[in-house]
Symmetry: C4
Subunit: 210 residues, 4 copies
């Protein structure tokens, strides 16, 4: 990769290794989620009915598992969509990407919080943490896009318009709506989750259409 052609301008590198490294973090974050799934421990006699009941009781952890998985998957599709437009990296972009990866690995934690406490009086608190995580993730995506485009020669030729559109999506759509979700979470937890879900559906369709 970086090997065959020696670096022309120092401080800039090809993105192959950065993407491979990021893919590693994404795929591990998705796979580690399964460690949360516990076998049901049926009380008293082990019958078909008690095992079904045990599985049914675990639904919040299944729900958190599937939600976290698709959240990280959508983040990966977006990451892929961004780095398709970037052909070189510098150290600033690497650290911004690292910050984004930190948030990718963190996602399962607030998701588990919500799954555990959604039906308790602490629903407002956990939804605040949950949507707040995505505010920070939006900032991370914005940083990646800003650093990628501010060094214009980091981009694939003719892709600066698409990068700008993605950047607008981040700070005109994602950032304000996630902030709104965080602000209302203490009062109407369900609305906060609704906004987050709505945004994922938007990100999905946005990536499908184009």
């Amino acid at each position: 990769m970086t090997v065959s052609n020696p670096p022309e301008s120092p401080g800039e590198k090809e993105t192959g290794r950065l993407e491979a490294f990021s893919d590693g973090v994404f795929s591990i974050a998705m796979t580690l989620l399964v460690l949360e799934l516990q076998l049901p421990k049926p009380s008293a006699p082990t019958t078909a009915a008690s095992v079904w009941q045990g599985l049914a009781n675990l639904w919040p952890s299944y729900f958190a598992f599937v939600t976290s998985f698709f959240t990280v998957l959508i983040m990966w599709v977006n990451h892929h969509g961004i780095f398709r437009l970037i052909r070189r990296t510098n150290a600033r972009l690497m650290f911004a990407n690292g910050f984004l990866l930190l948030l990718v690995t963190v996602v399962p934690f607030p998701t588990a919080l919500v799954a555990t406490y959604l039906k308790t009086p602490a629903a407002g608190a956990v939804c605040t943490v949950y949507s707040g995580t995505f505010v920070i993730a939006s900032i991370a995506y914005t940083l990646v896009l800003v650093f990628a485009s501010s060094g214009g020669h980091l981009l694939v030729p003719n892709s600066s318009r698409e990068v700008k559109r993605k950047l607008r999506d981040c700070y005109l759509v994602g950032l304000p709506l996630y902030t709104l979700a965080t602000a209302v979470a203490s009062f109407i937890p369900a609305l906060s989750l609704l906004i987050c879900s709505g945004l994922w559906i938007y990100w999905c369709f946005a990536s499908v259409e184009r």
Copy 2:
């Protein structure tokens, strides 16, 4: 990868990163299995005999480990066989692939269920869950193949016939037989497992011969 040649038609990308990402999920899913292996905790005096006994008592967890490992390996060989024929991806294919990867990471869970409860009256329930997982996995493989071939220009030239054959394997062989296995699991758990094992041997030979 995607870097050297800018994307000709937006919404379609090379598959290098998708495969690397998928490989990550497959390899982690296979490696995480080993976390289930517990050291024997011999009761009373620690002698050679008590440690051997402790190891022997753990056989259901060893069995589940080896079975899960080869199940995920076969799923990987099939995934490899499919993506060998695909040269581009779009968002729909990415999400179908993500759905398939979700099932890859889930496999250890129903396998552990079966290992734990096969000798109890709950055998029917756990075999239903187990074979049901592979019904859903078959649907995921079918979706990947349908989305790959419906956008004909996603395929490697001259490979649409092999894709169609693989698709037939999925919905004429895999899907109905796994559904049958799920249907009979409550009544004859052993038959359900036999059908699943038979299908793996079939997938192995199918991939070896061609």
Copy 3:
């Protein structure tokens, strides 16, 4: 990878994805080892001395960690050395490689067994399990090499002589010595470990010299 040039002869593929997948398993197996390291839980007052003592008491787990890490590293260097000579794979080679990867993921388990029980009367039993694992690993390496060379067109041109030499190393050096180590383990556990360590030093030097 497999994408740019459509498969000339069906049933044979480039090895890029197989290596990436194997690398994933190797690197995860090595990294998961660190999960075994526990923080010392100093009894009574938390002083510098009690924490040092707590760390010192954990030495068997540190020893197992470092040993497992380098064992898997040597197995990776050998795997790398073998696949450098292979340019295509078929399904048989994939499954042989999968069997080898199964053993890679298993290595931490017998290592932990030895670390836990070496100073007990069960030393013979755990050293039998330990060296027995490497007998099976030798068989897996042998299978990979046999399947790679039996389909002669799977090899990089002019490399069949080096493959044959590696194969001889497996079944004339590795296999008989590990079998010997397993046979004597019940009677002289230390000798069994000595043979295993000696072989690693041999594999290291063998890979350095060439």
Copy 4:
């Protein structure tokens, strides 16, 4: 990769697979950190206040998580910067790299030690372990650079000057300062952590400027 062009001089290989393997270890080490994050278990009634309190009480584990993540990220950026200059590997370089990866996987352990014991009388002991880990990591980086440059033909053409500069950074800056940090840790634990943090900021800027 190694496949398309057969190895010209035996014992030397392209670095693609070594980098992929290393990336795997780095990304897993970073992602595994999240396993340390525990859900708060609020005592008595589950209210918003008690959950916020529970989250606040976990701050040492959050702090350790973020610190470990960025430490490993900086190590990865440095590793990337080094291997950008290397085009071939031999067995010695592989083992030096393996030794470095061992330290990468270990980093979360001393970090957790510091997070747990910093406010106890054992602060000196844990800071000694912590900064001592980075002394050994510096030695590992030095070995990688020495082995890479001693076989001059392992380097990308015209990069030996940059390798020498990096090597000086290791043994004139990193090694002595980390050793100093380790030496003073028992007496002034805070100073030891300050030196380590200062060095990370230095590595960050060093990688950004060039």
